[in-house]
Amino acid sequence: MSNSREITAVEAAAILINSVLGIGILNMPRFMVEAAGTGAPIVTIIGVLFVFISVWGITKLGMSFPTQSIVQYSERIIGKWLGRAYIFIAIIVFIFAAGLLLREFSEVLNTAVLFETPIEVSALVILFLAAYFTRDSLNTFAYIHLFYAPFIFIPGIIIAALSIPKYNYLYLQPLFRVEVNEWFTGITSMAPMFQGVFVLTIIIPFMKQPGLVMKASFWGTALAGGVYVITVISALAIAGPEELKTMMWPALEHARSVEVPGNFLERLGIVFLITWVIAVFTTIFSYYMIIVNVLRQLFRTQDHRMFSFFLFPLIFGVAMIPENVVQLYKGEMAKIVNWMGVMFLMGFPLLLVIVMKLRGLPLKGSGKKSD
């Protein structure tokens, strides 16, 4: 493969952060509190640790075949047809995940800010932007992410920091009283938000120094996970477990009630919404890029651009399936897509690593060609 390997480790970490931080941040605190009450922060941390395992698996695979795409090495590990079937399922799951993400985005905009704008329009605009940029190379993809990462990351931290004086520490206690099944529901409801880690499979072959991949994926996951944990903690410490359960998007309500000391800046919610629109854009962009690139690899073509607008109606169509927000979050489709996402995008790479071990294929090999 004639890749121009130009993605640096910092860019890789930024891509990972942006792909993971997205729409989920808005209702994640509610999911976690519904699952574990005041133990939500702990469950979130454990959930992030689980994500680390998956990230480790994906990174290991990538490092073992630093010049190959996921299509090539999964075919190598589990056989041609099984490998292709896996990739095919992964693409379908991603199309659905991207569609639901898109729908969630326009649903929030329509409910909270732009009451008159039809959801189709806000969805079309952001999807069009994402589709347009997927026509560029992966290096451009990396630049865009690196540019946006601070805009997502820093305001989130500032809003969290501003709310610290209003914490009621009673709402964070008891911390460790979490039942086993609560752990389980908590972790399964947060894992889908981390599906974006799959982006590693497409960027590793383009990294300048594949040896730094592990470091980049560790920091990317840690920072993105950290933002999730902080958001859960501050939403919970301010609203308390019972009130939080009544909010559709607790993080949004939380940002809207944050005030800068001195009363010279009001309505910080707007700042939050702007950063959140960027975050959603980068996530959809990543998902889109993953689909486009994996499709290219699957069909063994050199050019990925032809897939960009071909996918457009598919993703948009998926986005328009749910009737309302209740179906969007609690409907069958969302459940299936989330489960498939966790299994195939985060769990399956681990299985591949295990199969590699069993078949005695050399694991790791930092930078060296393994075939």
């Binding site: 732009l114 329009v121 347009y132 009673l170 008891p174 009283r177 019972e242 009130e243 309500e253 809207r256």
Partner: protein, 409 residues
């Protein structure tokens, strides 16, 4: 080569999505900004006469126990809201810059739809500052209003709610001297009281959290109108669940704030000088509380509150005593501690009798004694019954006089 014109055409198309930002554009002067809302209860017979058919059809033989509310809204008149103190005041006052409308309805949203019918521009609640319930409405429960307000994305959690002694409608019609817009006057009233340490911070968001919490009850500022259209904070109204039970006097707001953990003191207390009838006025400047929980015999929950007061003496009425020796100061400190302790204990016992845990003791038990909570409490109702019948609260007060002012002795 493709014709450059085609490029031009397509680049125009690229800009189309950017224009979608105008979809929701609504000029400021085209929206009717609601600044304040007052909710009263009305007699069904009277309401029926006024009601029109907007969000539901009138049916023959409707049940007679139907509930009606009267909603009075204060709407800013665009362009006439004075932007600074100089432009404001003067002729006209309140009636000029705001428009007060009153409608009836079955529920809050029903009434708002009726109101919209009477106002040409779309109603906008993003600047809503205060919602006033009349005492009667509050005592029948506010949950039904909360549902609408929680769903409605424009209403901010930083706005305020209050309970009024008189008809709430009056609060929308008063013409205060200091502030040209009555609703802003009302909200700055309560916000300034918070700033001066005379009222705990209790915006809608905080009130809702207290209502939702399993081990806490809510409270709202209780307002009354004075002779000259001035509004007074006449204490707070305490709730049991979503229904207001009664009111406590302003003097007890201090203790309430202490227990809630708000440090800034604002209230003064007349304290007897030891052994005499003479009084000194002692004013709290800072108070700190520390709450500990315990479970006695795995049965009875117990709350121990340790309070430390920093106070200053502002006035000494006594002709005989002078504040010139450390012993006297110490005596006053002890005396003050004792009086305050009695006041706290009395206050807490009263609230326990009423079954209203406005202090949030239940939250302490839930957080610190999870085993007990899981076994014995779990629900709001259960906590309320334990709070009234079993909870034992002990108060310990320490006072430090830190200032006596510019006068020697």
């Amino acid at each position: 080569m493709i014709n450059p014109r085609i490029y031009f055409f397509f680049s125009l198309f690229v800009f189309v999505p950017l224009l979608s930002g105008c979809w929701d554009s609504l000029d400021v002067e085209k929206r009717a900004s609601v600044l304040g809302i007052a909710i009263d209860k009305v007699d069904p017979a009277e309401a029926k006469k006024e009601e029109n058919q907007i969000s539901h059809l009138k049916e023959e033989g409707e049940s007679s126990n139907e509930q009606y509310i009267r909603l009075t809204a204060q709407i800013a008149v665009p362009g006439r809201v004075p932007l600074n103190a100089l432009a404001g005041g003067g002729e006209g006052g309140a009636q000029e810059s705001v428009w007060v409308l009153s409608v009836v309805g079955h529920s809050l949203d029903d009434a708002i739809l009726n109101l919209q019918q009477e106002v040409a521009d779309p109603l906008f609640f993003g600047h809503l500052r205060i919602i006033v319930f009349s005492e009667k409405v509050a005592s029948e429960g506010v949950q039904k209003f909360n549902d609408y307000l929680r769903r409605q994305p424009q209403v901010r959690r930083t706005a305020w709610m209050a309970v009024s002694k008189e008809n709430a409608k009056k609060y929308m019609e008063i013409a205060p001297e200091l502030e040209p817009i009555p609703a802003l006057y009302l909200s700055s009233m309560v916000e300034d009281a918070v700033g001066a340490g005379k009222l705990p911070y209790d915006s809608i968001g905080i009130f809702w959290i207290a209502l939702s919490n399993l081990g806490q009850d809510g409270f709202l500022p209780y307002l009354t109108i004075g002779e000259k259209h001035n509004v007074r904070v006449e204490g707070v109204g305490y709730f049991t669940g979503d229904k207001m039970k009664g009111t406590i006097e302003p003097i007890k707001i201090g203790p309430l704030m202490t227990i809630l953990g708000e440090e800034q003191g604002g209230y003064g207390l007349m304290t007897n000088m030891p052994g005499t009838e003479d009084k000194v006025l002692v004013r709290a400047t800072k108070r700190r509380s520390n709450i500990k929980t315990a479970i006695k015999n795995e049965e009875k929950p117990e709350i121990r509150i340790k309070i430390r007061y920093d106070v200053r003496i502002e006035e000494n009425e006594s002709p005989t005593y002078s504040l010139d020796s450390p012993e006297i100061i110490r005596k006053i400190e002890d005396r003050y501690s004792e009086e305050v302790k009695d006041a706290y204990e009395q206050f807490i016992q009263d609230m326990q009798k009423e079954g209203s845990d406005i202090f949030g003791f239940g939250e302490y038990i839930r957080a610190k004694q999870p085993t007990y909570w899981e076994k014995k409490v779990k629900t709001q109702e259960q906590w309320r019954s334990i709070y009234t019948s079993q909870l034992d609260v002990q108060v310990e007060v320490q006072t430090r006089i830190t200032q006596i002012g510019m006068k020697e002795q």
